[in-house]
C-alpha cells in the first residue's frame, strides 16, 4: 500500500511557516505581535518557522511531484504531512491565539483574587491546542492526507517524557518517587479494588468489571487497551468504559486547574493531585501544563506520577488476569513474563537513561540544582529597586526565624541574594508565606535573578514544551464525540462513584500531607 497522498497541503503548510518566519524576522508582524502580547515567542516564530517551513516545503514537493512506491520510505515520509498539520495548529494557538486570549482576559481585570479569567480556566496554548484538536476531528475531521501522521503525536509525548528525564535532580526524583509510589499505590490499588467490589455488589459481568477497574484505577484508556484482551471484555464493555474515561478525563482537565487555582495549590501539590486524581494519563499532562503554562515544575511532578502509574500497569494486568481466571471458565492462563514484557513501557527506560546522563553532568554541571546554577554577578537592572528593598525592610519584623531574618537583611542591604545558602533560606521564607503577596513576589524575583539555567537545559525545556504541545494537540485530534458518547450503562455509574471518590480523597490527602518546596 502507498501511504503518501499526492496533495498540495504540506507544501502550503511549508509556505505558511516560512512566511511566519520571514515576516517575523523582518518586523512586519510587530504590530500584531505587540497587540496580542506575543513578544516572548518572536525568537521561536523565526527559528521554528524556518525549520518547519523548510522541512514541510521539501517533503511537500516530494509528496506532490515525487513517484511513490510501497515501502518504508513512503510510509515514514507520509507521516510528515500529519505532523506538520498538528504543528501548524499547535503553533498558531501557541503564538497567536493563546496570547490573544490572555490579552483579552487581562483587559477584563482579575476575576479571582489577583488571577485573570484565562489563568483560572487554564486557557493557555496547551488546553486550547487540545480543544482545537477535538473541534477539528469532530467538525471537519482530520484530512485524509494528515491521518497517518496524526498518530505521531504519541511519539511526541513519549519523547517529551524521555527528555524530561534531564530536568530532575537525584534528591527530587527520590522524593517524588516515594511520594508517587505511596499515593499511586494507595489510590490505584484502592480504586481497582473498589471497582471490583462495586461490580460484584451490582452484579456486573466479570469482563465489564475487569476492564473498568483497570481503566478507572491505572491510566485510563491505555489501561483499558492493555487489560481488555486479558479479561475477555465484550465490545459493549470496551465502548462504555472508554467513553466514560474520555468523558471524565476531558472534564477533569478543565475542572482540576480551576479547583487548583481556587485552593491556591502549589506546583508540587497540583502535579501530585492531577497525577493521582485524573483518570486518563494524557489529560494529566494537559492539566499540569494548563495549571502552569510558562514553567514545567507542575508537569515534572505530574509526569513522575504518570510514570509510576504506567509502571503499575503490568502488575494490575497480572492481578486482573489471575482474578479473571479464578472466576471464569474461559479465562486463559497467563504467561507472567509475556505480560510484563508486552506491557512494560519502554519509553520509561529512555527517561531513566536521560536522567542518568544528566546526572553525569553531560548537560549541565552536576552541582546544578534542577538544571539551574547560582550566580549573583548580575547587572544593575536585575537588582531589586530601592523602593522594593524598602518594602521588604518594612516587612522584616514579620520574620521570626533568625536564619531567615539574616538572609533577608543581606538581600535588603545588597539588593540581591548573596549566596547559595541564602537563596535556599529565601526560598523557604517564600514558601512559608510569612510575608505579604507583594513581598513574596519580590523574593521570587530576587531568586530568579541569581538562578540561571544552563544553555542545554534551557533547550531541553523548550523542546519538552514544544513536544508536549505537539503531542497533546495531536491526541486532541483523536478524541471523538462519537467515542465519548458511548459513555453509559453501569460503567458510567461505577466510574462516576470511583472517579469522584478518587479525585476528592486524593485532594484531601495531598492538601493535608504534601507540602510545597521550590
Amino acid at each position: 500500500m502507498v501511504y503518501t497522498h499526492k496533495h498540495p497541503a504540506l507544501l502550503v503548510i511549508g509556505v505558511i511557516f516560512l512566511a511566519i518566519g520571514f515576516l517575523t524576522a523582518g518586523g512586519m508582524l510587530d504590530g500584531l505581535i505587540a497587540t496580542i502580547g506575543a513578544r516572548k515567542y518572536i525568537g521561536e516564530m523565526i527559528w521554528l518557522g524556518y525549520i518547519l517551513g523548510a522541512i514541510s516545503l521539501l517533503v511537500g514537493l516530494w509528496h506532490l511531484f515525487g513517484t511513490h512506491r510501497e515501502g518504508n520510505l513512503d510510509y515514514y515520509l507520509s507521516t510528515i504531512a500529519g505532523a506538520a498539520f498538528i504543528m501548524l495548529v499547535a503553533m498558531v494557538i501557541r503564538w497567536y491565539v493563546a496570547p490573544f486570549v490572555a490579552t483579552l482576559s487581562k483587559a477584563m481585570g482579575p476575576v479571582m483574587g489577583d488571577k485573570y479569567l484565562h489563568q483560572v480556566l487554564g486557557l493557555n496554548y496547551v488546553v486550547l491546542g487540545i480543544l482545537a484538536g477535538i473541534i477539528i476531528v469532530n467538525t471537519i475531521g482530520v484530512p485524509k492526507w494528515a491521518q497517518n501522521g496524526v498518530r505521531l503525536s504519541r511519539l511526541g509525548l513519549k519523547t517529551g517524557v524521555i527528555l524530561l528525564g534531564t530536568l530532575y535532580s537525584l534528591a527530587e526524583l527520590q522524593q517524588l518517587g516515594k511520594l508517587s509510589v505511596a499515593l499511586i499505590g494507595f489510590f490505584v490499588l484502592g480504586s481497582v479494588g473498589l471497582v471490583l467490589l462495586l461490580g460484584r455488589m451490582r452484579g456486573l459481568p466479570n469482563n465489564m468489571t475487569g476492564v473498568l477497574s483497570a481503566g478507572m484505577g491505572v491510566c485510563g484508556v491505555s489501561a483499558t487497551v492493555a487489560a481488555a484482551p486479558v479479561v475477555k471484555a465484550r465490545a459493549i464493555d470496551i465502548a462504555y468504559t472508554i467513553g466514560t474515561i474520555l468523558l471524565w478525563g476531558v472534564g477533569c482537565m478543565f475542572l482540576f486547574p480551576i479547583i487548583g487555582h481556587m485552593l491556591d495549590m502549589g506546583f508540587v501539590q497540583f502535579g501530585a493531585w492531577a497525577g493521582t486524581g485524573i483518570l486518563n494519563s494524557a489529560q494529566v499532562a494537559g492539566a499540569a501544563l494548563a495549571y502552569q503554562p510558562d514553567g514545567i515544575e507542575t508537569l515534572k511532578v505530574a509526569e513522575i506520577f504518570n510514570i509510576t502509574r504506567v509502571l503499575f500497569l503490568p502488575i494490575i494486568v497480572l492481578w486482573l488476569a489471575l482474578w479473571f481466571v479464578r472466576r471464569e471458565d474461559n479465562g486463559e492462563r497467563v504467561n507472567i513474563g509475556q505480560v510484563i514484557v508486552q506491557k512494560f513501557p519502554l519509553f520509561v527506560l529512555g527517561f531513566i537513561l536521560m536522567f542518568a546522563l544528566s546526572s553525569t553532568g553531560i548537560f549541565a554541571p552536576p552541582q546544578h540544582y534542577k538544571g539551574k546554577y547560582f550566580d549573583n554577578n548580575i547587572p544593575e537592572s536585575k537588582l531589586l529597586k530601592p523602593e522594593e528593598a524598602a518594602l521588604l525592610k518594612a516587612e522584616l519584623p514579620k520574620v521570626q526565624r533568625e536564619d531567615r531574618k539574616a538572609a533577608l537583611l543581606r538581600l535588603i542591604d545588597n539588593r540581591k541574594i548573596m549566596s547559595r545558602e541564602d537563596d535556599a533560606v529565601i526560598r523557604g521564607l517564600n514558601n512559608a508565606k510569612v510575608l505579604s503577596k507583594q513581598a513574596n513576589k519580590l523574593l521570587k524575583k530576587a531568586h530568579k535573578a541569581v538562578r540561571h539555567t544552563a544553555g542545554k537545559i534551557k533547550a531541553f525545556r523548550q523542546w519538552i514544551t514544544l513536544l508536549f504541545a505537539f503531542g497533546l494537540t495531536g491526541l486532541g485530534m483523536q478524541i471523538t464525540m462519537a467515542a465519548i458518547r458511548q459513555a453509559g450503562g453501569q460503567p458510567l455509574v461505577v466510574g462516576g462513584i470511583v472517579g469522584t471518590l478518587k479525585a476528592v480523597l486524593s485532594l484531601i490527602v495531598i492538601l493535608l500531607f504534601v507540602h510545597e518546596t521550590i
Binding site: V137, S153, R154, L157, K158, C219, V221, S222, T224, V225, A226, A228, P229, R234, A235, I236, I238, A239, I242, L246, G249, N280, S281, A282, Q283, N306, V310, L313, Q342, K343, F344, P345, L346, G471, L475, G476, Q478, I479, T480, A482, A483, R485, Q486, G488, G489
Partner: protein, 164 residues
Amino acid sequence: MSASCILLASHGTTGARAAEARALAEAQRTGAVVMHLLVVPSFWADIRGDDWLNGGPARDAFSTYVEDLLASEVEQEISRLGKAARATGITLHSHVRRGQPTQCLLDFAEDCLPQLVIIGTPRRKGEPGYRSRMTLEKLARGLNAPLLVVPRQVEQPENDSPHE
C-alpha cells in the same frame, strides 16, 4: 404493496428484530429478495482514542482483539438471520458496511434500489447498547423508496444485545 427488493437494516437489537420479522413476512408475501444491511459503527475506528502509554504489541493485541470481537458479532447476526430466511424459503443477502448508520443505509439503498426499506425503532432509554443510531429525518429526505419503521412488539423477549 409489492416489492421485488426489500432493504432491511438490522443489527439484532430488540427494535431491529421486529423489523426483521416484518421484512421476512413481507418477502414471503411478495416473493421479494431481502437485502440485509449490517453496519459496524465508525466510532470503533476512534475507540483507542488518546492511548499513548502502550507500546506497539499491546496496541496490536487490542486491535486484533476488537476486530475479532466485532467480526464474531457480525457473523452471529448474519448466521441467525440467514437461518430464519432459509427456514421460510426467502432469498436473503447480507452486506456489512462500516461507517455512520444513516449514511451507510442511504449509500446502500442507492446501490440496491429497493422498493421498500424496513428498519426498527430506536433503543429505549436505559437499555444497553451503542449510541450510534439512524437519523430518521436524514433518511426520509435521502431515500427514494418508502420507509417502514416497525414498532417493537410488546411481547418481544428482552434482549441484551448491545447493538442499535
